[in-house]
Symmetry: C2
Subunit: 107 residues, 2 copies
């Protein structure tokens, strides 16, 4: 579950959401589809995700080679549809932070 990322620098997109518990099936299907598509994007390095807490809050972080990869994924047509649904229906509150990983350590 911990992504094997290369030596920095690379980029992280920190996605913090509070989710409305509606359209569970549609939401899960869309999440799975977006993950499948993200993995195929040029420059995708990994995704870490941990479950929702009882309030619907969860955190996920995707890793990318550079900012251009992030921009291209953001503009992907199918992903744009998912973003629109997220804003309109699924996420009463969310935050996306794009960050440059400068150093990393661990096991």
């Amino acid at each position: 579950m911990i992504s094997k990322t290369p030596t920095p620098p690379y980029y992280a997109v920190i996605f913090s959401i509070v989710r409305a518990k509606v359209d569970e099936h549609e939401y899960e299907a869309m999440g799975a589809r977006m993950f499948e598509m993200a993995m195929q994007q040029d420059g995708f390095l990994g995704l870490e995700y941990s479950p929702e807490d009882p309030s619907g809050f969860s955190l996920s972080v995707s890793y990318w080679r550079d900012e251009d990869c992030i921009r291209r994924w953001k503009q992907n047509v199918e992903h744009l549809v998912a973003q629109k649904l997220g804003k309109e229906k699924w996420y009463p509150s969310y935050s996306i932070r794009v960050a440059r990983v400068e150093r990393a350590y661990g096991t």
Copy 2:
């Protein structure tokens, strides 16, 4: 649960762990103590955390004004004890990534 952070730039520390399910009480008490202490550090901007999945994996992200604040917190004496316990007993696998948040958006 979503931290109200200032306009970028600022820093994020992405902490990805797989936890061994030992010393539950000691671990929880230490976690609570570290959170309480981190909040009091100069330059601390927020902490986001989501629960463990069944494998013990979880993700948390703390936000900081600058790298000096992160270094000072890393060197805090009580925090050093927690780091040692983490490495020796609690985290079979972990990753810490220090990243500069360059842009942010959301609700």
